[in-house]
């Protein structure tokens, strides 16, 4: 058992993560997997896109045309989403939220282009969830006094009776776990369904799987991206709003 079994694949149905190169670090065997490669591809596409946008925007015109239209549409949409969820606090988080929005969206729909979605690896989504977790608590300590935080953590009971404290602590720790598992399980279920369709029904899987791709990759991926960003913004905004 252990790490090996996760890296192995079973017969013709193939949706597992494959190890490509292994190396030893501090006596520990570490694998470079297909997830790393897919993340790298997604990142390169996004970086290339942003360089093209930057180059085009130097010669921006008053009346947008073609490519400039697309770029402005994306930026305006993301601005609107963040402003709708955070109100006046939007400028503090709009850059981060836009970045992870584009990254998660590209990761989720990369299944369309034959990659294994990087977000179908728990390592990726746990990292995203932990970033949100630390963001929530750093914001909490910056915007609230320690006494207020203690009162909040003992919340249904008075602060001199911290019986409820452990339960509140667990519910705080559950935030990154449920955030990351939600994204991971949704993308993984789509990946597994598509692998089952192509693996078991390979004889008759001609054109109709395209409809499944639209649902599992595009629709589900976009919804989960939106939900992840929305929840991150809601949690962080909650900590900023409490005075």
């Amino acid at each position: 058992m252990g790490g090996k079994i996760l890296l192995s694949s079973s017969s013709s149905i193939d949706f597992m993560i494959h190890g490509l190169i292994s190396y030893k670090i501090f006596g520990q065997e570490v694998w470079i997997t297909t997830s790393h490669v897919c993340i790298l591809i997604v990142m390169l596409v996004l970086i290339g896109f942003s360089f093209v946008v930057k180059h085009k925007m130097k010669a921006a015109t008053d009346v947008p045309d073609g490519f400039q239209n697309v770029a402005e549409l994306i930026v305006e949409f993301l601005d609107g989403v963040v402003r709708g969820a955070m109100g006046d606090n939007a400028p503090k988080l709009v850059n981060y939220i836009s970045t992870i929005f584009l990254f998660i969206l590209m990761s989720n729909i990369s299944g369309l282009f034959g990659l294994r979605p990087p977000t179908a690896d728990y390592g990726t989504t746990l990292a995203l969830g932990l970033i949100t977790f630390f963001m929530i608590h750093i914001t909490q300590f910056r915007y609230q006094k320690p006494k207020q935080i203690w009162v909040d953590m003992c919340s249904p009971l008075p602060p001199w009776l911290p019986i409820w404290f452990p339960i509140n602590l667990i519910s705080e720790v559950a935030v990154p776990i449920s955030l990351s598992l939600r994204l991971f399980a949704n993308v993984l279920s789509g990946t597994v369904m598509m692998a089952l369709v192509y693996g078991l029904l390979s004889k008759i899987a001609i054109i109709w799987p395209a409809a499944l791709h639209v649902y599992f990759d595009l629709f589900s991926g976009a919804i989960q991206t939106y939900v992840f960003c929305m929840l991150t913004m809601t949690y962080v905004n909650q900590q900023m709003a409490t005075e």
Binding site: M1, I5, L6, S10, M16, S178, L181, R182, A185, N186, L188, S189, V192, I223, Q224, Y226, V227, M230, L231
Partner: protein, 85 residues
Amino acid sequence: MNITGQDLILACSAIGAGLAVIAGIGPGIGQGIAAGYAASAVGRNPGAKGDIMSTMLLGQAVAETTGLYGLLVAMLLLFVKPLAG
């Protein structure tokens, strides 16, 4: 035909996986209720359709989490086989 302990564990894992995805009932009912109330809200106030849609999708995605936990348990039992030695 001999049934070894290993076979028994695999068979029980498959049954357990099937039982685990029954967790999908809860989110199904919950999402249906959310969609129903969203539909009645749109009926009462068609102007707020965009806000209602985004709130509904957010709530449904959060409600979906428990069902996904069941799905994860089923997948672990079927593909990772943590109980088979």
